[in-house]
């Protein structure tokens, strides 16, 4: 562990620390951030009466819209001159969110990232290739700082260079740890052959991946193709950035850095907190951030608290791997299906994302899903019937393996799916009773 004193602290000590930090955070945001002062007052919340974490449910939520409305600096809890870094997060309706960090915020972020890296097995002996974007969105920075803090050798490869260059660097610089998105790792794995590089010729041993939902099947594929252990991590700029939570070697949920964040899982319809094991929307409250604290921020990410304790010795609560985003979730056959996952598979198989429509029906109590896909000239050699059959089969198989469900895929003529007045194809048509 990077910081065993914190990461393995007793739950009672942690509860004390969390309530202390929550109370002072509420004191500070009430005094320094107009939005929170107004929200608390309007909701009639006596934040001073928050005596235990359980009292928490009285405090109103903060949404991405709230943050976007405060663009650029109205959510800052310190004067701008105390801010030493500004990143951005996607806001609502195409607006952005500006997220500030003080010197202390950056140090805490670095420490959190270092913990996640250590939990993934990264040490000062490693050569770490970071293939996240280094830009306004916090991407590469958190792990970059954390890996340097550990004393690893850090290559800021970023995500802009070609796959071939990534592989060349990986081979020549003897990279041992790859950090990036699972899609990138997957693409690298697929392309190794084309670049005439054997996975054995690489020194890679760990992939610390994240920033998008990915399945266990995808993990297995990445691990097999690159001969690595693939570890999941979670973070978002509005809360801090990469380093909010991460898996340990047990690969059984992501430990949340609970001395810095209070995590809740709520039912997005009733907004009630859910007990461990039940799936809902992740909600985070920052309790050490100085510049940009967020109170009960609704992430939109779907997960669940993992009940029980972890064999690794860390006492911090775990969240299940992110299943997807609340806005693109549909219930199918008693489980959650995420449109983004289907979109990704379609795009990967077809090489382009055509117009498609998901039609849900129910026969004899069994849910059925048909994916109607418009053929288009952009799909390679689409004019051959054999190709169509092959593509159809590929999509069906990938969805079965990665999403664990059986679907029917049909191809239809261009521009035959019903359009709305704005020319958009309704993504989901649900004919179930």
């Amino acid at each position: 562990m990077f910081d065993a004193k914190c990461e393995a602290m007793g739950r009672e000590d942690l509860a004390q620390l969390q309530i202390e930090r929550l109370q002072l955070t509420l004191n500070r945001v009430y005094r320094n951030v107009a939005f929170y002062r107004h929200t608390f007052d309007a909701a009639g919340v006596a934040f001073e009466k928050i005596r235990a974490i359980e009292d928490f449910k009285e405090i109103p939520f903060t949404t991405r819209e709230d943050l976007a409305r405060s663009y650029p600096y109205d959510m800052f809890a310190v004067p701008l001159k105390d801010v030493v870094r500004i990143h951005s997060a996607p806001g609502a309706s195409r607006r952005m969110i500006a997220v500030g960090y003080t010197k202390n915020d950056l140090r805490h972020w670095t420490d959190c990232a270092a913990r996640i890296l250590t939990a993934a097995g990264v040490t000062d002996q490693d050569v770490v290739q970071i293939a996240f974007h280094y830009d306004l969105f916090s991407g590469g920075f958190g792990f970059h700082q954390g890996a340097e803090r550990l004393g690893a050798s850090v290559i800021p490869a970023s995500a802009t260079m070609s796959l071939e260059t990534q592989v060349t660097i990986m081979r020549d610089y003897k990279t041992t740890v790859l950090i990036g998105t699972p899609s990138l790792a997957c693409n690298l794995g697929t392309m190794l052959d084309a670049f005439k590089v054997q996975p054995q010729a690489l020194h890679l041993r760990v992939g610390l991946l994240g920033a998008e939902p990915w399945s266990e099947e995808m993990r297995a594929r990445i691990e097999a193709m690159l001969h690595i252990t693939a570890i999941d991590s979670y973070g978002l700029t509005a809360v801090m950035g990469p380093g909010v939570a991460g898996e340990c070697a047990c690969k059984d949920g992501l430990h949340v850095n609970e001395d810095h964040f209070i995590v809740e899982v709520i039912d997005p319809r009733t907004l009630r907190p859910l007990p461990p094991g039940e799936e809902g929307e992740l909600v985070f409250t920052t309790i050490t951030k100085e510049a940009f604290p967020v109170i009960r921020f609704r992430t939109g990410d779907v997960s669940a608290l993992v009940p029980g304790t972890c064999a690794c010795g860390r006492t911090f609560v775990r969240i299940r791997r992110i299943a997807g985003h609340i806005d693109d979730r549909l219930f199918f056959g008693g489980r959650n299906v995420f449109l983004s996952q289907l979109e990704r598979i379609m795009g990967e198989v077809l090489g382009t994302l055509p117009h498609f429509q998901i039609v849900l029906d129910r026969k004899d109590g069994v849910d059925g899903m048909e994916i109607r896909t418009e053929v288009s000239a952009e799909i390679p050699s689409i004019d051959e019937l054999k190709t169509l059959d092959r593509l159809r089969l590929a999509i069906v198989q990938r969805i079965e393996v990665e999403a664990g469900m059986q679907v029917k895929v049909t191809f239809v003529e261009p521009k035959t799916l019903a359009r709305s007045e704005t020319g958009e194809v309704a993504r989901v048509v649900d004919t179930r009773e």
Binding site: Q16, E20, L24, N27, R28, R51
Partner: protein, 244 residues
């Protein structure tokens, strides 16, 4: 070791502490800083059982001690070095020290108290040299050492100090703070209230900032030293820049 949760305390109708939560772990030096009137002394007083708390919890070593008699709290191992020393001026140095062992008089043989007095003299040589002298004739720094020595005579595991640097020459302050570090090295837990934030944070592991009866900042000593609000309010950093 010491855990305070949602503590409210005050004097008559005056509410000084408005829901304070803080803790000190075993072997830690924790600094509590804040302006005059923020409630620092009231907090120590409430923990020590000399200021009445109206709500909240105080737990020392797993035992609830809110509004327990002051001498019971001392016996449990939590001693206070009060603000302004509060030594007994007409008594000798030795007599002052022996008074510190009063709470334990029925629990241990006299010899144990004498052995402890030897330790205290080892810590503050000057107290040994002047053991027969009247406490009121000591210098400010020596009186402070006597007050700390007296607290140590109760064999505490946690010592709370209220403004030990007040009105004392900087060189002596340094000596006293070094003694605090030495005590911690022997396993002592320390809660240090200080106006002199810079000196306190130099030896502390963690710190809290108390403002108008509420905790507004908590963190490692480094976090506090790097916090711009702390710099502005308690380290006098930006004023100097304005002067220049």
């Amino acid at each position: 070791m010491l855990r305070v949760l949602n503590l409210e305390a005050g004097y008559g109708n005056l509410r000084v502490l408005k829901g304070v939560s803080m803790h000190v772990s075993p072997g830690e030096i924790v600094a509590l800083i804040g302006a005059n009137g923020a409630g620092k002394t009231t907090l120590l007083g409430a923990i020590a059982g000399i200021v009445r708390a109206t709500d909240g919890e105080i737990v020392f070593d797993g035992r609830a001690i809110r509004n327990a008699p002051a001498e019971r709290i001392v016996r449990l191992g939590c001693a206070l070095v009060p603000e302004g020393r509060q030594i007994f001026a007409p008594l000798s140095v030795k007599e002052n020290l022996m008074l510190g062992a009063y709470a334990r008089r029925r629990r241990e043989p006299r010899a144990a108290a004498h052995a402890r007095m030897e330790e205290v003299r080892g810590l503050f040589g000057v107290l040994g040299e002047r053991q027969g002298q009247l406490a009121g004739t000591l210098s400010g720094g020596e009186q402070q050492m006597l007050a700390i020595g007296r607290a140590l005579m109760s064999a505490p595991r946690c010592i709370m100090m209220d403004e030990p640097s007040m009105g004392i020459a900087p060189k002596i302050v340094k000596d006293i703070f070094q003694t605090v570090v030495r005590l911690r090295g022997q396993g002592m837990t320390v809660l240090l209230v200080e106006q002199n934030a810079r000196a306190a944070l130099a030896i502390a592991d963690r710190g809290y900032v108390l403002e108008a009866g509420r905790i507004v900042i908590e963190g490692s000593a480094r976090d506090l030293l790097d916090n711009r609000d702390v710099q502005r309010a308690y380290l006098g950093k930006e004023y100097r820049r304005i002067d220049e």
